[in-house]
Amino acid sequence: MAVQESAAQLSMTLKVQEYPTLKVPYETLNKRFRAAQKNIDRETSHVTMVVAELEKTLSSCPAVDSVVSLLDGVVEKLSVLKRKAVESIQAEGESARLCKRRIEHLKEHSSDQPAAASVWKRKRMDRMMVEHLLRCGYYNTAVKLARQSGIETREKALQSGRRKPAGRGPPGHGHAGIPAGHAHLPLQGPAGPGPVADADPAVPVRQLPAAPAGEQLRVHPHPAGRPLGHKDTCYKEDGSSRSPDCPVCSRSLNKLAQPLPMAHCANSRLVCKISGDVMNENNPPMMLPNGYVYGYNSLLSIRQDDKVVCPRTKEVFHFSQAEKVYIM
């Protein structure tokens, strides 16, 4: 990877990026907890009602068969309570387990094996891309990408949250169903006015705001675009100083990065145009008589019969004409 990220840096980034990843399953957990509580309360009140009725009849010297039939009613209500309680608790447990799975995935970023760390980074990028694609409404693409990079667990769940056509404005895709299903997809909930399948009106509000902050793919090229590029070199009219490796020089990002602020550089860093190597004490910068500067080692490598040809202007000079340049 070109960009070096130490473990500490990864942790810091995690703190900033992964809020939605964990918050969404938490909100589902919360929702299910409340639903479970409601169910238990409702069934409990039913049972209490039937038992109260039984107690009333008991106090008035009843016949045995009426008691028996009332008892049957009690048994029935108790069974219903048991069934519903078990179901609700299972659903809650599932949400909690989903939370745990996501945390475990996030923890992998700091594993000891370097291969695992780079796989994690790649998955992170894929996750963000899938999220971005979903927000744009490119549903099928997102599914395909998720499948191919191995971050999707149950496609059933994805299909249940069928998105609305992209014609609707950026926030408000009907993703309500989706967050439930995935181990690794950090999906945002619906934003505000989006049509929500949820019965519970409180939930959409509590779901994450579809803040542009969530569109992290868009945000990332923003601060990044400029630490890499420099106004003059990447945007020269004739494209003469384009570097194939520099992302800001690439076609698409070039336009994207244009309005962004530049990187801050307090110290000089010199890179030889021929080899791409750093020019420092080990590879001192040498100026040819036409003013172009190259690294000493590169000049050695292009030297032929004591002459060098400037790669950019094609002028021929004597090797000894190169003067050493001192950069503080």
């Binding site: 980034t13 049972v47 045995v64 090229p221 490796d245 992302p247 698409s252 530049m262 340049v325 001192y326």
Partner: protein
């Protein structure tokens, strides 16, 4: 790491509570049902139809009712108690992770959102092609109605085809490609073709003594590389001696290492990309990774700026307020910062080399002119300002 750990602790507690509650709930309801069932059976079997309930039975019944009420209500309140643990999970998440990052980004920077989306879509498409996810790229083209012409896709398609073959240890397509681009590869000082031949030879060797003749006849492919790779060819020829004994036990066992395959894939990717004028990693992934590094740094400094209430420092327009370390591999262009004015040089303010060899920016040079003469700030050599030569890195 710490953040994940603390959230995980809370989640584990909640899971534990759910488990115990679930078991407890099921068990107590089971017992209750059993008890009531027994009572009912007793009542029914006593064949006391139509007769009034006896006093003892009546007492037992009312006790039963009380018990049911108590158990059921306790279940409900126990469940409610779990609520605090659940909300603690949410609080842990809120405490350890930042929910807002839009403070760092100024949306007004882009004038047209649709255009920006389109360009971003293109970048994503490029990335997908480069990663070899061709079907996903096709799908994106369809859904976003972006038109991509074939010669944009073509090099990627070919690259991926060859890479896939290499992954399956099929050297054919790669060799074809290397031969057809031989001239340009030589210009790049690439030894790809030789390495491919070498790998094939080694594979033949691994086939055992039956392959000896085939290996020998294949060796004539090395002839054009004899000058550059003499030593390696010698090593391989030498290994033929051990063919009958088996190469694994010979001093040449390192030739059979599996890492050669991974290495050839890498070499091929690198050389093919430089030939095509592409970078090995897609621009999007490098941007994204740098963004990941930059984001927390920028947020921290924003917090500091707000705390110290000096909001004028960062005006979102010209320059980021702080340097972001991305590692040396990200130095794509030269940057010269004038040591005197501590500013980057530009076309309007280029670096100038003085006679003594020291380099400063033109603005700094103009500032140092004293009575028509200039004294270098580093070595006190006097010189004529006009003698300074503009340099280009």
């Amino acid at each position: 790491m710490e953040q994940c750990a603390s959230v995980e602790r809370e989640v584990d507690k909640v899971l534990q509570k759910f488990l115990t509650y679930g078991q407890h709930c099921e068990q107590s309801l089971e017992e209750l049902l059993h008890y009531v069932g027994q009572l009912r059976a007793e009542l029914a079997s006593a064949a006391l139809q139509g007769t009034p309930l006896s006093a003892t039975l009546s007492l037992v019944m009312s006790q039963c009712c009380r018990k049911i009420k108590d158990t059921v209500q306790k279940l409900a309140s126990d469940h409610k108690d779990i609520h605090s643990s659940v909300s603690r999970v949410g609080k842990a998440i809120d405490r350890n992770f930042d929910s807002e990052i839009c403070g760092v980004v100024s949306d007004t920077v882009w004038d047209s959102r649709e255009k920006q989306q389109q360009i971003l879509q293109m970048a994503i498409l490029e990335h997908l092609y480069q990663q070899g996810m061709l079907s996903v790229a096709e799908e994106l083209c369809q859904e976003s109605t972006l038109n991509v012409d074939l010669d944009f896709k073509q090099p990627f398609l070919e690259l991926n085809r060859i890479l896939e073959a290499l992954h399956e240890q099929d050297l054919g397509p790669a060799l074809e490609w290397a031969v057809s681009h031989r001239q340009r590869l030589l210009e790049l000082n690439s030894s790809l073709e030789f390495k491919l031949h070498r790998l094939h030879f080694i594979r033949l060797l691994a086939g055992g003594p039956e392959k000896q003749l085939e290996a020998l006849s294949y060796a004539r492919h090395f002839q054009p590389f004899a000058r550059l790779h003499q030593r390696e060819i010698q090593v391989m020829m030498g290994s033929l001696v051990y063919l009958r004994l088996g190469l694994e036990k010979s001093p040449y066992c390192h030739l059979l290492d599996n890492s050669h395959w991974a290495e050839i894939c890498e070499t091929f990717t690198r050389d093919a990309c430089s030939l095509l004028g592409l970078s090995v990693e897609s621009p999007l992934s490098v941007s994204f990774a740098s963004g990941c590094v930059a984001l927390p740094v920028l947020m921290n400094i924003k917090a500091v700026i707000e705390q110290r209430q000096c909001t004028g420092v960062w005006s979102h327009k010209d320059e980021l307020p702080i340097e972001i370390e991305l590692g040396m591999k990200c130095w794509y262009h030269s940057v010269f910062a004038c040591p005197i004015l501590r500013q980057q040089t530009s076309d309007s303010n280029p670096p100038i080399k003085l006679i003594c060899g020291h380099v400063i920016s033109r603005d700094a040079l103009n500032k140092l002119i004293n009575g028509g003469k200039l004294k270098c700030p580093y070595c006190p050599m006097e010189q004529n300002p006009a003698d300074g030569k503009r340099i280009i890195f």
